[in-house]
Amino acid sequence: MNPEFRRNLLLELTLHRLVAMPLILLLLYGAAGLIDYGDTVSGIAGFVILILLVAWGSRLAADAVLGEVAGRTWDSQRMSALGPWSMSWGKLAGSTIFVWYGAALSIPAALYGGNADLFELLRLLLVGLFSQVLALFASLAIQRLRPERLRFHVTQAQIVGLVGALILWNLLKWDYTDVVYWYGFAPGNVEFSFLSGLIFTAWCCFGIYRLMRAELQFRCWPVGWAGFTLFCAVYAAGFMPGRISDFVVDTPGGEAILQLLMAHIVIAGLTWLGAFAEPKGFVRLRRWRDTIRSGSPREILSVMPSWTPGLLMALVTGALIVVTALLSDGRYHYAADKYLSAGLGSAGIFSAALLLFLLRDIGIIHFLTMDGRAKRALLSALVYFAALYALLPTILFALDLEDAIPALVPSPMGNSVVVIVPVLLQVAVVGGLIGWRWAKLARAMQSA
């Protein structure tokens, strides 16, 4: 048996707990049955499963690694001979085994009564599993990002799990009779969303495996996040043109541009997230630079920041958008929607602007986090982004300077000078700041 799973079994499934859980559930469902036979028992059981798997389970999963870090046993785990996959499933299944035990005991009660719904039960179980998987993934990401600060890490990771569960819960709640338009197919909403939920849960498991590999000191190429980004881009592009298909159906290249734009936006967003959430700093950047100068491709890939493949993908989708727009001769005349018309007309400019904003933001993140002494650098970055993307545009709007807003927010409106030149200048300024801090840190390192 997996030693990590076995260790968790010893800790989680004590005799006392094994006896107490069914007794308490029996009392609960017994009381509910006495009050109102049937549906009440089923409803309460569903609620109990939700609380056990989502609220408690996400907490246990978030604590699986972070609890070991706090207890100073994590290094000893990292030094075991267990592989990343064994460690991952041992921790995930082992740390949450008790809540799954409670959920399993509650299933008969949930299916009891006239209105029992098997899909409703499957939805509960999937949402519960997703919240736990996401919480463990987030805990590993947080641990790698800020290993020196442990306060509220478990709560932060659990919140990520709970938010993910809430989103999935709402996605899975779609109407049985509705259909989804995805790459020309029209599968049933329930089946499509459930399958999507399963696939995203599998991606999360893969993410845990990749982060665990890094924790266990395996060389890691940035293929995990790049693969997920590519999947999400392809997945999201399938929903285009969706409800607005009526407007673009007769337009040469219109549908393709919409799909590419969606993919481009998703890639930019996930690349931004990857740059924000991965470990950073002067030492890592310098090591990357040095391996580019002298290392083998294998070494270069193993120290490459995760945002680089995303940036390349954004570059490719941006180029494809420009080429498609040029080939389609810019013939976009949709009287029904002037914004969509204008947006499609300047899709190339928008995609270029988005790429430059992404580059600027990655630069800002690295500038703020390069100096290892800087406390709360990521929080500072978030504050700056809030000011750049929300506060300043609001002020410009209030001052009737709407035309200047594309200088701060990627926008499909406006001409190329207003959209591209300001962000190009911002990229140059951020690049200069990084160069200045790099030189300063290099001098400090030499004199240390």
């Binding site: 800790l11 207890g71 046993t73 290094d75 000893s76 030094m79 001979a81 060389r219 002067f282 290892g372």
Partner: protein, 327 residues
Amino acid sequence: MTLDAAAYDHSASTAVVQVRDLIYDYPTARALFGVSFDIEPGSITALVGPNGAGKTTLLRCLAALETPYSGSVVVDGLNVEEHPRDIHRRLGFLQDFFGLYDDLSVRQCLDHHAAAHGVPWVERPAAVEQSAERLGLADRLDQKAGTLSRGLRQRLAVAQAIIHRPNLLLLDEPASGLDPEARQELSRLLVTLRDEGMTLIVSSHILAELEDYSTHMMIVRDGRVVEHSPLDQAAEAAPVNRLLAVLAQPDPRLAKILHGIDGVSGVMDTEANVGFDFAGDAEARAALLRQLVEAGLPVVEFRPVRLNMQDVYLQRIKNGTGGDGAI
């Protein structure tokens, strides 16, 4: 001798540990400056140095817990960066600050560590019993780890580190929290492990204990290895000799004369029996003896005294740089 990491053929060496040009950077400071050394099989190396010298960082790099900025670490012929899991199978590491699973019993803790390090299940019960026996925990196997005293927790941590019979054992302050008797038992255990073929690197500030069982000494200072040699050679190669001058009868002039001579330091005066450090070769020592005799002192004995580990360590640290950082 300086060894280049890229050019060096690790397979040609018999050393258990081969470190080449190891550089480790923290975000704001360099912790290790191109460290290179070999550790011979069956040796016990005392890793010593001031606080903040880089000892723990070095041990963590050897244990594949940290990724160095550059350089290479090879353990048992395997590159640490390439084969971290294989290394962990062959290596035991007791950290200075460690944790235990408080809710597990001593037996469960040991069994888990054995399983996690790939000990086959049929061999695990015997491995648990033997480790517990060696660390004096045989009568506490069913006690929860959380109820153990600090010293017993330390023993359990050592037992966990050796349960899979690693080829290389790294110990960071292993005697911390142990009473004198347990420390002596630990010293005996380390020698036994070495006799069984294990190679050990022990970091500690208690130099007198290290001297009991160490075969080599490695001094790390400011992120550099300033001395790494067999203990006896380290004493002989020390830049300053400790000399003992014995007089036929007490004479207060001896100490006064010695204080006035260049190269003499650390004079410990008992009038008839004076120990002191002297920086000089054999000829300088002869000249010094001549000077004492000509001053009319009744010298009946004048000889070098073997330096202990603490003396060598303090001399190296006082002198700043030692060797070239490699052997």
